[in-house]
Symmetry: C2
Subunit: 441 residues, 2 copies
């Protein structure tokens, strides 16, 4: 893509209403624009990142054996009356009446709808275990939306739902999702700490939040530094190993202020290991047994022919919120550096040649076509802006690798720079090999 053609409205000044750095960057780099209070449009740059995160979330759900489907955004209120949550959910639920005066709502979550789908379509234990998920827009009518897409009203969530015959199998589904979440956040180069959490309006007996460490986070967290050293590659993907993994994580004290207990913290964590900081919730998983399946009669025939209420769990990841969390973790000293896995473009070519410098232009175009042919996603700066302005823009765009082309270079010489690192000079061959190694292997 050529920068002159990309719809990328960059803003030079920090918007006054943007209090945290992810909100500032997303406005300044033209990733999003607010369309109504707490409701955002994703412009091409932001959309590219969002889609890549979504795809990683999807691949790890598929890897865990979950099956993708898609439930609608608008639900019938009747379902929520069946589960008993309609009245209790409060003002955060966007309630709607259609032209026939039927009560609808914009789904804030999907436990009821998926339970209905399961109940109407699955009859036998042979169809279990089953994990279904979808990635769909949700709406929560926040009283005070703020922090850009971090605390907005319309947001993209991945939510999975597990169905099992027994509590033990249901716990295994929970562990599989726990593992999938750790793998997902690792691919996003985020350090996510699981911590025991309140179950809130979802309900149930077991719940973990996944929290990204960030000073600008909304929750105070109290944890054990040693938790940061655990490696998911130490655990295998089988029933026993996954159980021991969850037990290992759970053996370290870790809590948000909601669940924090000073006495327990001091008892379980040595002073030198205590880590008190802030964090951003990016995932939340719940085991809630028959909380929905019982009132909604979601039952299967067991192998002995008796009707059994299924055991369920639900598992959410804030896909759009992850964009903000990744920025909070990677935007420092006014320079953004996207992780390779989700960067909107893989390589930037910055042509510093003057408007009529045909040699620079030819060099830039040649590299651009070469990388495009190799399916490397390139953003070529072909504009007439000043070098200083170009570098400032690319500090906001955050592409991790830059190739700089200028009139003082030799013919077969290119400046290559990992953002925030020093530049090196490479020949075309070396350069292409370097980029291939970064992305294609």
């Amino acid at each position: 893509m050529k920068l002159s053609e990309l719809f990328l409205p960059i803003v030079k000044d920090i918007p006054t209403d943007a209090k945290i750095k992810s909100h500032q960057l997303m406005i300044r780099s033209g990733m999003i624009r607010q369309s109504a209070a707490g409701i955002y449009s994703w412009l091409p740059l932001g959309f590219r990142v969002l889609k890549k995160i979504e795809q990683i979330v999807r691949e790890e759900q598929d890897f865990a054996g979950a099956q993708e489907m898609l439930m609608p955004t608008i639900q019938s209120a009747d379902l929520w009356k069946e589960s008993g949550r309609y009245d209790g959910y409060g003002l955060e639920m966007l309630r709607i009446k259609d032209r026939q005066d039927r009560e609808l709502l914009y789904g804030p979550t999907n436990e009821e709808l998926i339970t209905q789908i399961f109940r109407d379509n699955v009859k036998s234990y042979k169809s279990l275990p089953l994990i279904l998920y979808h990635i769909q827009w949700k709406f929560r009518d926040e009283i005070r939306p703020r922090f850009g897409i971090m605390r907005c009203r319309e947001f993209l969530m991945k939510d999975s739902y597990s169905f099992d015959l027994t509590k033990e199998e249901s716990n295994h589904s929970y562990n599989k999702m726990f593992y999938a979440y750790l793998r997902t956040f690792e691919r996003l180069e985020l350090k996510a700490l699981p911590m025991v959490a309140d179950t809130g309006p979802i309900g149930g007996d077991l719940s973990h939040e996944f929290i990204i460490l960030a000073e600008t986070g909304e929750s105070q967290i109290y944890t054990n530094k040693k938790l940061l050293d655990l490696k998911i590659s130490d655990f295998k993907n089988d029933k026993e190993s996954l159980k021991s993994m969850v037990d290992t994580y759970a053996s370290f004290y870790s809590a948000t202020d909601e669940k924090f207990d000073q006495v327990e913290f001091d008892k379980k964590v040595k002073k030198e290991d205590q880590l008190i900081t802030r964090g951003i919730e990016v995932g939340h998983i719940f085991h809630f047994g028959d909380k929905y399946s019982k009132p909604m009669n979601a039952m299967v025939n067991s192998s002995t022919g008796t009707n059994t209420t299924v055991q369920m769990g639900s598992y959410g990841i804030g896909v759009s919120r992850l964009v903000g969390a990744i920025i909070e973790a990677n935007y420092n000293n006014n320079v953004m550096k996207w992780p390779k896995s989700v960067t909107p473009f893989q390589v930037a070519i910055i042509n510093l040649g003057k408007k009529n410098d045909e040699i620079c232009k030819k060099k830039a175009d040649k590299l651009y076509h070469l990388l495009n042919e190799k399916k490397i996603e390139v953003l070529l700066d072909d504009t007439d802006e000043s070098p200083a302005s170009k570098f400032k823009n690319f500090d906001l765009i955050g592409i991790p690798y830059q190739v700089i082309i200028g009139s003082k270079q030799a013919e077969n010489e290119y400046e290559f720079k990992e953002i925030t690192s020093d530049k090196i000079n490479l020949s075309l061959d070396e350069l292409v090999k370097k980029i291939e190694n970064l992305y294609l292997n």
Copy 2:
């Protein structure tokens, strides 16, 4: 994927409320389930088809130089008051009040929102031409939703918006989309006829509908048989050639009953070329000049420094509706055959061996793993159902190619069958080569 693990609730009987064949098939083959009146959930089989269609639509938009973004589902009513459409849109617009009593709505289309985004972010003619698009769920509160996802309330639409400085350039954007639409429908193996259409609530001076021929279609159409013989490969992707393409298509009489004129029809089309049938609208494109940009003040600086109101067009494809249209075109005599480009799985392996037939099982598993390794999407029937029942299920699932494994075959013999054609016997090597030729070349 193994059929025993796939969430695929097949229904043996034709649902009584499903009047058209696409609705019947989608319920019977477990592609969709209704969640509320005119609101559907997409189960895994339906979801896979939907995503593939979406991807083809996306690729052709990108090829035409349109840039993808994503606008939210919920919009502010204020915008629609600016354009003057809020009061006139009628009961089909789902109007919502949030907890602060602000007027919102579920977007039925996005002319206003994209015009606002353009107005706030583009200042110079140098940013033109610009085509932006998104693929997002829309809601129209149909008084009588019916025919499954063909006339539902929540539906997936691709909508593009073009911005140009002059009428002439704007017409070129229109022609580019016209071409992209023909290419899109061709990849879906659909015969789509463009016809001059009313502009309705979108407005403007020029508009074409793209209509798929289908006896169960909602619109009566009057056209010239010769239009079916035009080939888009005869036209090149440059300004002149695209103009001549649109002119060529426009030179044939073609109209829905809304615009039909018997006298003109008889004058322009020879009796033997007259084709009167029914069709399904799957796309609709509009050129409307300054209809939105003028009241909403969407202007750019021209090269001479004067403020100029931009010329706009909008271009919609019914992505979810296309699933139904493809079924109407390809589901005959109770057998569905998906086009290769959107089939939910590329190959079916149907193991007819009895429950304990280890030889058949081994053979099926071997082929299954081999094809999976080659990234061929396989659905392996590993269930205990009877052969008759298996074939009936696969007539509904509609995978175009089947490999049948049975106990009477030689060790290195496989039955290969294109659905609705005769079967042939192939060795493993021949079989794999055949499948690779179908999908990987």
